[in-house]
Amino acid sequence: MSLLEVNGLDVHYGDFQAIYGLDLRVDEGETLAVIGANGAGKSTLLKTIAGLMRPTAGDILYEGASLTPVPSYQRVPKGISLTPEGRKIFRSLTVEENLKVGAHIKRPGPWNLQSVYEAFPLVADRRDRLGVNLSGGEQQAAAIGRALMSNPRLLLLDEVSLGLAPVVVEQIYDAIPTITGNGTTVLVVEQDVNQALKVADRVQCLLEGRTVLEGPPSSLTRDEIAAAYFGI
């Protein structure tokens, strides 16, 4: 049994369909990267898994049970945690307060203020700063730290690299092995294919809401990925 199983998922924004009959599975302990261009439906997929959006058809199974009737705030105690697109750091709270809000439900596990600070020195340095005063990279690192504070079994990372300097992206991705080393399963959504290939055990490429390529990074050639990514 996979930890997460997405079966025949359709998601709409009003009349616009973002995802078409998508199938996807993530096994416990693996890191899956979902890649694709803008508008491929990657962020929509994560929002639907986290419960911020409702599917119009299909189902999502987590630990074998359907998530459809579960509101988003009840998915966190089950171990699903999303670092949302745009980071969504609480602007009027300090970095440390942001992390504490992340730990609000007190799910037990290896992650706490201290271990997050160790994994993200960038966050530790800014712990007393207000969210509104953080740079993009600091926000991203704090947002991942905040998501970890709930000690997720499945961590969903949305567009970690978006709008960040390569050196900062590097720093943040350096923490991924620590996260997976603690037993957390990671589903990462990326436009930056190189970063995704580096951390992922398996890659799934979306194009306009459908899967066009899937496999471990070692089995895929650069040309195959480029063709799938751009739909050529």
Binding site: A50, G51, L52, P71, S72, Y73, Q74, V76, P77, S81, L82, P84, K88, F90, R91, S92, L93, E97, N98, K100, V101, G102, H104, I105, R107, L130, G131, V132, R146, A147, S150
Partner: protein, 289 residues
Amino acid sequence: MQWLNAIIQGILLGGLYALLAAGLSLMFGVMRIVNLAHGVLAMLAAYLGVVFVNNLGLPWFLALVIVVPIMAAVGYVLQWGLFNRAISKGGLAPLLVAFGLAVVLTQLLQQIFSADSRSIQIGALGTSSIQVSDTIYIGWFPLMTFVVGVLVIAGVQVFLNRAPLGRAMRATSDDPETVNLMGINNRQVYALATALAMATVGLAGMFIGTKTQFIPTYGDLVLIFAFEAVIIGGLGSLWGTLVGGIILGVAQTVGSQINPSYGLLVGNLVFLAILAFRPQGLLPKAVTT
């Protein structure tokens, strides 16, 4: 000396206004709801005080201890039953719902308690005072009101700053969707925030209902005082609300000192002046989203 007395009495009155305004400020701060039913809810608390103290003969302080949790429960139910539904409709809906609630509740109070003016009896404590100098007396009850007002403002502020639930309220105020990703139900946070706000309204209603004669429509005036205190102090800042309440109180008593009929007028003029020259208030919230 009489001017000094006016200022002292004004500061004490300001404590009452701050107490009145704390709940309004809190609900706006957490949910961006302008609760137009705030004043009449304070009247509801005052009438509960009349029932428990005047009719049932309970001691004043015991009535206070009963009214506050009743009002908190009223707030919790109101939020789940009315405001949460209105918020999901967005825009002006919560404002209109609050307005409708104010109208209905005022009529209901008039139906039950009539339009005769009432006041909660407190006995000797209501009139006893400390003599500070030949001409200055400080009443025990106004002093107690002031102290409670300051303690409530400070208590709510410390709660918001330090308590996990207070932190969750601030986070929810920043971004009500994202808190759900932390396992926090924003609607439940709203309900608890309104319960807390209504607990302070319970206190305020007991104090104002003891201080003055009131009728159901007196809630309109209460709403205006609370609103003025919040605006003068700066939206979303509780310490600002305390400062705003004190400024409003002093303006009213000094105005009354000039001419007994000028009290409300001067208070409103000071409010207008602040609105014209410093519309963000004296101590606005540092971060606005």
